[in-house]
């Protein structure tokens, strides 16, 4: 399994080279990897269904208990069918959708494949850290794919919104998962669910995890990012925003529900927000004229439906949830791909402009009707099977179940209405409207769309063979005895389905004739306005905090740092002070002249008037310290000190060119009070550091155990006779990698700041010249 995930990333790294030769056909190469993963996963089907979920784990840092562990259970396998199956189809589709020789081909193919790999990892991950890692990887891929090359402000805004909302949710989820893992005493997801912890902490953790799931799956009140993300190219929307990424939230809820669905903190938000989302999405979908945005709100609505099903627990409910996850992945990707086909063929996605497409291409329309009927829950399609099961699940007659059932029926009626609106609006021929001009988009686009559309039909009839997989997930709950089927006889759910069809038709007719009443939401209930207000508030808070803390005065910063250093560790030092013991004047006579040199230089710095002089004298102090290291027998330390000192000198000189030559201007002498404050702080700091050094070095008798171990093991286990180097590159190599990462980030950040400042300084000059010449 790990190999399959790594293969995605490895091939993605090779794609740019292939794209140079093969152009847009590179998508076909990319499609091979998800397709192979799908075959590989289906190959394991027998074992998975028999209850022996294959597991793999790679302990990459056993010292701190970190490992990547993967587990393929029925739910994971179901998700792989969507992630890899739809992924392969979408990549094939992209190969014909992208313009030949277009600029974004390399970028998009790489990102789509990386995304497919991350998604595969996400559904296979069995420990919370791997789960989080892959989760955030999908978020980043989504940002890059939605943003594209960031050509317009609208695109950039949408991509940022998707990143901020899902990133915020991801962080909340990480916190929740860690709380859960700590409470349960294990970070393996399968173990946490098998033995769910209890207590108030668990309730908090569960809510945090839900925030992650709800943001990712675009539930109220986080949903606006999904319709906004429709600025992405259609294949991206079909994959990320229909089949795969937005399902991650549903998947997370489905994954944890068997352990926590009894908790009120779990099912109340899931069911309430899910139902609300389902109804809201349905209404908004009826209002849209852009087919893609219609589908986006349809997705929001369906995701709410799925949330309710997978989140509320119970065998039949989970079975319905699993069936609809599969059905939704199939029909929604088909429909999104259809929108791409229409867009290519006619150049528009607007219902008010499209006309006559259905008559021109009846076969294409047939596939579209199949997919839309599955979405509407019309027999004999998989969506119908799932919806019937859902109605059965909530048909117990209890108060809670009945309320949910009523909302589900209402939501399904809306779904039927907007499905009808999609087909009639996109493919119908309104009276008195000339058919729109269109060119046949080619088999390469239609076939990838037709496959999932047909699959919805085939799966509905193959449901007895499909059931073991879907029930494999639902088996986590007690209570069996329900079987998926197209025909259960004349039952209450069938009656409800008939009601849904009738209601949906009436709603559609009403909307087409009269339109929806234009209800203005109050400001506080508008989720998009809420998002904007939150972002603005954060900005304002950041500005206020920065303005208060970063006053821009170097003496103030230094003073704060020094005072903190004196007060905090100084108090501890005074509390547990030990007499430093007998003092020696020197260890080696060589220390004396060096110390004198350093002291003289220090005293001279105080009276220096020019900055350059002060910098050079500081350099002398630094070299003196280096010399002391050398005398004490630390050549490595001394070498590093000398080199850093030299470099610092040069950097100082660079910076000094920007500053006035002298510290103090003769005509503006500094106030006495400020000088005294500075002097007191400086002297206190110096005394504190000197005292600390004396006490610390006196309290040390002999080598600590750690040092002795380092010295003993340097040669045998690190193969180095230089202990310092053995520590840096072996014993504490993890620190080294962290430190160079910090260095890289700091250098890049400093470079950006400085270069940015240059640009900002140069720009006004250029404007002036332009004004003069213009």
């Amino acid at each position: 399994m790990l190999v399959a995930i790594v293969a995605h990333f490895a091939v993605a790294a090779a794609l740019p080279a292939i794209a140079k030769r093969w152009g847009r056909n590179v998508f076909y190469v990319a499609a091979l990897i998800p397709a192979a993963s799908l075959v590989f996963a289906l190959n394991r089907l027998g074992g998975v269904l028999a209850g022996a979920a294959p597991e793999e784990s790679l302990a990459w840092a056993p010292g701190i208990g970190l490992e990547i562990s993967l587990r393929m259970d029925p739910l994971a396998l179901l998700m792989i069918v969507l992630v890899s199956g739809v992924g392969a189809l979408v990549l094939c589709y992209s190969a014909r959708y992208a313009k030949p020789g277009g600029e974004g081909i390399t970028r998009e193919s790489v990102l789509l494949l990386v995304f497919a790999g991350a998604m595969l990892g996400l559904v296979l991950a069995d420990d919370i850290f791997s789960l989080y890692l892959f989760w955030e990887l999908t978020t980043v891929c989504s940002f890059l794919l939605v943003g594209g090359r960031g050509l317009t402000p609208a695109i950039r805004r949408s991509a940022t919104q998707a990143l901020l909302v899902t990133g915020f949710g991801g962080l909340a989820m990480l916190l929740g998962l860690i709380l859960l893992g700590t409470a349960a005493g294990t970070y393996r997801i399968s173990e946490i669910i098998a033995h769910p912890p209890g207590g108030a902490v668990t309730s908090v953790a569960v809510v945090l995890v839900l925030v992650g799931a709800l943001t990712k799956s675009a539930q109220v009140p986080f949903h606006p990012w999904l319709p906004a993300a429709m600025v992405a190219p259609t294949p991206v929307s079909a994959y990320l925003h229909a089949a795969a990424m937005v399902k991650a939230g549903v998947y997370l809820v489905a994954r944890f529900a068997p352990g926590f669905s009894d908790l009120a903190a779990w099912w109340v938000p899931v069911v309430v927000l899910g139902l609300w989302t389902m109804l809201l999405g349905g209404v908004r979908a009826l209002r849209e004229h852009d087919l893609k945005r219609l589908l986006a709100f349809g997705t929001v609505s369906q995701l709410g439906f799925l949330m309710v099903l997978v989140g509320s627990g119970g065998f039949v409910t989970a079975l319905a949830g699993a069936t609809l996850i599969l059905a939704h992945g199939l029909f929604k990707s088909a429909l999104f791909l259809t929108v791409g086909v229409l867009d290519k063929a006619t150049g528009t996605r607007d219902i008010r402009e499209l006309s006559g497409v259905g008559r021109r291409w009846p076969v294409l329309t047939g596939f579209v009707v199949l997919a839309a009927a599955s979405m509407a829950g019309f027999p004999p399609l998989l969506g119908f099977v799932g919806k019937e099961t859902a109605f059965t699940a909530f048909g117990s007659g209890g108060a809670r179940d009945t309320i949910v059932l009523v909302c589900l029926v209402l939501g399904s009626a809306l779904t039927f209405a907007y499905s009808l609106r999609f087909v009639v609006g996109g493919f119908g021929t309104p009276q008195g409207k000339t058919p729109i001009a269109a060119t046949w988009p080619g088999q390469g686009l239609v076939v990838p769309m037709a496959i999932p559309a047909t699959a919805g039909l085939v799966c509905a009839f193959a449901v007895p063979w499909l059931e073991p997989l879907l029930a494999g997930y639902a088996d986590a709950y007690p209570g069996h005895g329900y079987h998926l089927a197209l025909w259960h006889g004349f039952t209450v759910p069938l009656g409800l389905s008939a009601l849904v069809v009738l209601g949906g038709y009436l709603v559609h007719r009403h909307v087409q004739r009269a339109g929806l009443p234009d209800v203005r939401w109050p400001k506080y209930a508008d989720a998009q306005a809420g998002y904007r207000a939150a972002v603005r508030g954060l900005d304002a808070l950041a500005r206020r905090v920065t303005g208060r803390l970063q006053v821009g005065s170097l003496p103030v910063y230094l003073g704060v740092i020094l005072l903190t250093a004196i007060v905090v560790p100084g108090a501890g030092l005074l509390a547990g002070v030990d007499s430093p013991g007998p003092l020696r004047l020197w260890d080696s006579p060589m220390q004396v002249p060096i110390a004198v040199l350093v002291l003289v230089a220090t005293a001279t710095v105080l009276v220096a008037r020019r900055r350059l002089t002060a910098v050079l004298l500081t350099g002398v102090i630094g070299y003196g310290i280096g010399a002391l290291f050398l005398v004490d027998g630390g050549p490595d330390l001394a070498l590093a000190q000398f080199l850093v000192e030299s470099l610092t000198l040069v950097v100082f000189v660079f910076v000094l060119r920007r500053l006035p030559e002298r510290f103090v201007r003769d005509d503006r002498p500094p106030g006495k009070k400020a000088r005294w404050t500075k002097a007191v702080i400086a002297i206190a700091g110096g005394v504190f550091v000197a005292g600390l050094a004396m006490i610390v070095s006196a309290s040390r008798d002999g080598l600590p155990d750690v040092s002795r171990e380092y010295i003993e093991r340097a040669e045998p286990s690190a193969g180095a006779s230089n202990v310092v180097n053995a520590i840096i590159v072996d014993f504490r190599a993890f620190d080294t990698v962290g430190e160079i990462a910090v260095l890289a980030v700091a250098a890049t950040g400093a470079a950006s700041l400085i270069l940015g400042a240059h640009r900002a300084r140069r720009r006004p000059e250029r404007d002036e010249t332009e004004e003069v010449t213009g």
Binding site: L639, R657, A744
Partner: protein, 169 residues
Amino acid sequence: MTKWTEWDAPKERWLLTERERGGWPRSLLFELCTRIVFPTVLVMSVYLLLAGHNDAGGGFSGGLVAGLAFVLRYLAGGSAELAAVRALRPPVLIGSGMSIAVITALVPAAFGAPILSTALWTVTLPLVGTFKIATSLFLDIGVYLLIIGVVLDLLRTLGTGIEQGGLDS
């Protein structure tokens, strides 16, 4: 007798300099020495990198020495001198150093060992003799490249600042 506040003002130029068209003060002596010393310093830095395992040195020191070689060239001739190494773009150096270090860290995991663990190879080359290589050397190489990149980045950014603004004042 000068006022005591003036005692640290420079009284004369240390080196004869000629101003180039670009405005960079140019000292022939300095430039010549730098050019002669430059390759030696680079070799020295590689020595420090390789010797670090058993003597004083290591990737950090080696990288700093190599970086200082470039600093010397820059001080002698400005960015024109650095044009010679324009092929070494600092972000690329930083990125490849970081990548080498991370890959070195992760490779042991593929062989079932904890990340960042070290393997020792003993290699015998004809004429050269037998020597020992620890895989942690690659981590050191990563650090070395990254440090050079950071120093060159400093020259590129702070250095251009001088040339564009500082010299005029």
